[in-house]
């Protein structure tokens, strides 16, 4: 555990989350609930059981959600804290970024580089994407096929990258160690991939005439 959790000030039961006591149902006062790991009563680690995480979220939300606990600021904030902590832990790259930060590693503004070998691939992908964007002459089906092909390649690459990131985080490296800079570069690459994948998805949806559907006419 990151911080020592004590017992509930109301019923003395042992706590597994600083947000609420499952025993007596009390919401607990705190100015800072700690890291997302602490919020869910989890060890600080890369490896996480998504199903267990979700169960913990649901158990805690039942206690703190304004619908159940009353629409107080405290309940709103506790529920928001839970939602945010869940979002971070459930997403591998957000989780890796969190661990990197907790270990005192460099952030995106101090270490902006991507791994050297990755840069060559980026140039190629950007070129392919530009080709597809500029090629308005060909059949929509063929453009769609090329976009899907590129998307699959990027998804695979992202998965590989996150496996590498995971391997570097198990077990957790020493705080402020040399390896953290390399980890930051890999995460920068993962971020590039996420953005490009989003761009491809938007392009595909636009081609299918779906882009307008998300926005209600104003």
């Amino acid at each position: 555990m990151d911080t020592g959790l004590h017992s509930c000030p109301h019923c003395d039961a042992e706590l597994w989350s600083p947000l609420a006591c499952e025993e007596c149902g009390a919401l607990l006062e705190s100015s800072d609930h700690g890291t997302p790991f602490v919020v869910f009563g989890l060890e600080r680690a890369w490896d996480i059981d998504r199903k267990d995480l979700r169960r913990r979220l649901l158990r805690l939300q039942r206690l703190v959600h304004p619908d159940h606990a009353g629409a107080t600021d405290q309940a709103q904030e506790a529920a928001a804290t839970l939602n945010h902590a869940h979002e971070v832990l459930a997403d591998p790259s957000l989780r890796a970024n969190l661990l990197l930060r907790l270990l005192g590693g460099p952030d995106e503004s101090t270490e902006r580089k991507m791994p050297q070998d990755f840069l060559m691939e980026v140039l190629e992908w950007n070129e392919t994407l530009d080709e597809i964007t500029e090629d308005q002459g060909s059949e929509p089906a063929s453009r769609e096929a090329r976009l899907i092909h590129l998307q699959d390649e990027l998804l695979q690459r992202r998965e590989d990258l996150l496996v590498e990131v995971g391997a570097a985080l198990m077990p957790l490296p020493e705080p402020k160690s040399e390896s953290l800079a390399l980890l930051r570069r890999r995460l920068n690459a993962a971020r590039y991939l996420a953005r490009t994948l989003w761009r491809i998805r938007e392009m595909r949806l636009t081609e299918q005439g779906l882009s307008g559907a998300t926005k209600p006419p104003l």
């Binding site: 939300q61 959600h65 304004p66 619908d67 629409a71 709103q76 939602n83 945010h84 998300t214 209600p216």
Partner: protein, 621 residues
């Protein structure tokens, strides 16, 4: 542990909490009883209340069926589709394509208002009257006062529209327990997710709007994963497809101006709707348009396949929204465990078939699709008053929220489809030397440029101590509560100096405005209801009898024997009711008189409308 506590001690009558489906065309209420929700239906009345408000020159507005009956007689003072105006500007209403018979104006905040008898009414006030009608309905059905309610809104309602809905309830003197998304309410109504974890698609096709929502339900926790929709697509468009067909058939025989004649439009819409409804059960139906005054007597047999070919493109548009929602939730159709149908337009067989084919499973249709949302709202009202903790609803925000940055770009603070409640804090700074204030523009939407998004409001942070550009550290916090209502705050942190902020609400009403409206007598509108109702009904019966008497000649010549006999009997009963003070008797006599006079009204209406158009044309010349 804070349950929501209701003051039940200081009232003689028991107080109940209800769920309200505040719809575009109809509204209805439901209540939790012992084991499940039930739609509130007062004796001898329909469960649904037309969302129509008629504002007479004197006296209080009339709501529901009574108001709807005025739509053709006094169109300038009969307001429908109030929901479409909530929190919207006149531009949003697209009046060129959707002309309204009443006068719509814009206030100084560019919000739509309606002018009635020279007096301006906000959509919130009009909506409050509909709520008052719903509350009366609920009181009649339960014999109890309504303490508080859950009100549903489309998943697509933005912050301004939600706020407007809350304001309407405040004006009506109704405590709102929660604003809930309609599709979420629908899945609550079906009690899904009691067993294993499930992913549910809720397909809601109403008269004028379409919504699809994807929810995950696990251990009683409902989480909206994604929502999508189209605010301009519904069963009305199916009717219009049939009207268009009639127009094409008539194009050679009828002058084109006639197609814009209100009498034609109204009659065509009604007969198209009738034909559409018949085609939901019959393999073919007749599209019949009889307008003797316009020299039109049009009949055409429409088979179901013909009708389906007409509406196919519209149904496809709903499926496009389903695809987008699936894409947002990163789901495929085979991961959807349950499909729920909501809204009257899902009775159309093609819609059912296409939805079933798209998701690869038969949808839930056991509950009346017009009642599902109100039933779910009642379930949630039960939950929120501590009735059960088996259910927890975790909603998402339908649109991204952000701040306009230099150059008109958007800095997103909260992403679309984030689970609420949620909050986000970000640092901003000054860009000029010695700058002592920053103006923030809060926006909602998905577009890259602020100008393309919806403006929610502006506020300024003042009293920043002068310092070099970029040195001030201003923390801006966006907090969305469980109702999806946004609070934005900003604080200058580098000096610890407290800075003041001003939020100018652009859409919600200010407290003063609500006070003014309350003073106008809204809060008291429910008091002495029965006595007032007796007086109102007596007056109404009197007016109707006079009108019928005046149109005796038209009745004798224009009505068939059966209708005439029916009318004569109803007139007798109404005259008898005039001598009593018995509310149920007076009410039923009035209702019967209204029913019986409908055929006569139809005959007269053609004349009235024609007169109105003639006048209008002269004006235009």
């Amino acid at each position: 542990m804070g349950y929501i506590e209701l003051d039940v001690v200081n009232n003689d009558a028991p107080r109940v909490v209800i769920g309200i489906d505040l719809g575009t065309t109809n509204s209805l209420a439901a209540i939790w009883e012992d084991t499940g929700p039930r739609v509130l239906t007062p004796d001898g009345m329909s469960a649904s209340i037309p969302s129509v408000v008629h504002v007479p020159a004197e006296g209080n507005p009339v709501v529901g069926t009574d108001a709807k009956a005025q739509a053709m007689v006094d169109p300038e003072h009969t307001v429908f589709s109030v929901k479409r105006m909530m929190g919207r500007g006149v531009e949003d209403l697209d009046l060129a394509n959707n002309p309204l018979p009443y006068k719509v104006l814009e206030d100084d905040r560019k919000l739509a208002m309606v002018e009635l008898h020279g007096k301006r009414m906000t959509p919130q006030e009009l909506s409050a009257w509909i709520l008052v009608g719903v509350l009366e309905h609920a009181r009649k059905a339960t014999g109890s006062e309504v303490a508080a309610a859950v009100i549903t809104v489309p998943a697509y309602f933005d912050d301004a529209q939600r706020q407007a809905t809350r304001d309407a309830a405040r004006i009506a003197g109704l405590e709102v327990l929660r604003i809930v998304n309609e599709p979420t309410a629908a899945s609550l109504a079906y009690g899904l997710g009691r067993t294993d974890a499930q992913t549910v698609a809720v397909f809601d096709l109403g008269g004028g709007t379409f919504d699809v929502s994807l929810l995950s339900i696990e251990e009683g926790v409902f989480q909206v994963l994604a929502t999508n929709g189209d605010t301009r697509l519904g069963g009305d468009d199916f009717d219009q497809a049939l009207v268009q067909l009639a127009r094409e058939d008539l194009a050679n025989d009828v002058s084109p101006e006639l197609f814009n004649d209100p009498a034609f439009l109204q009659a065509a819409r009604l007969s198209a709707e009738k034909c559409k409804q018949a085609l939901s059960s019959d393999p073919e139906a007749e599209l019949h348009l009889a307008l003797p005054d316009l020299n039109i007597n049009y009949r055409r047999r429409i088979t179901r396949p013909e009708f389906e070919a007409l509406i196919e493109p519209l149904v496809q548009r709903t499926l496009q929204s389903c695809r987008r929602a699936l894409s947002d939730a990163e789901l495929t159709t085979d991961q959807i465990d349950e499909v729920v149908l909501v809204g009257g337009s899902t009775r159309v067989p093609l819609v059912r078939a296409q939805v079933e084919a798209f998701f690869g499973r038969a949808p839930h249709t056991a509950l009346n699709p017009d009642h599902v949302v109100a039933l779910g709202a009642a379930v949630q009202a039960h939950v929120l008053t501590g009735g059960t903790r088996d259910v927890l609803l975790m909603d998402v925000t339908p649109l991204s929220l952000g701040i306009e940055t230099m150059g008109g770009a958007v800095s997103k603070m909260i992403e679309r489809n984030s689970t609420i409640p949620c909050s986000h804090k970000e640092g901003f700074s000054t860009y000029a030397e010695g700058q002592t204030g920053i103006d923030f523009h809060v926006i909602q939407g998905e577009r890259e440029l602020a100008a393309d998004c919806r403006s929610l409001g502006r506020f300024s942070l003042k009293d920043i101590p002068p310092m070099p550009a970029g040195m001030a550290r201003v923390g801006v916090r966006f907090a969305l509560d469980a109702d999806g209502v946004l609070t934005v705050s900003a604080k200058e942190e580098s000096t610890g100096a407290s800075a003041s902020i001003e939020i100018a609400p652009m859409h919600g009403l200010t407290d003063n405005e609500v006070e003014t409206m309350l003073d106008a007598g809204f809060a008291n509108a429910q008091e002495d209801f029965d006595n007032r109702r007796v007086v109102d009904l007596q007056t109404e019966i009197g007016t109707m009898l006079t009108a019928i008497d005046r149109s005796n000649e038209a009745a004798q010549t224009g009505l068939d024997r059966e209708s005439l006999l029916d009318l004569t009997e109803a007139v007798e009963a109404a005259k008898k009711a005039q001598t009593t003070h018995d509310l149920p008797q007076i009410q039923s006599a009035r209702d019967r008189l209204e029913q019986a006079s409908l055929p006569l009204a139809t005959i007269l209406m053609d004349g009235v409308v024609k007169g109105a158009i003639t006048g209008k044309r002269v004006d235009e010349l």
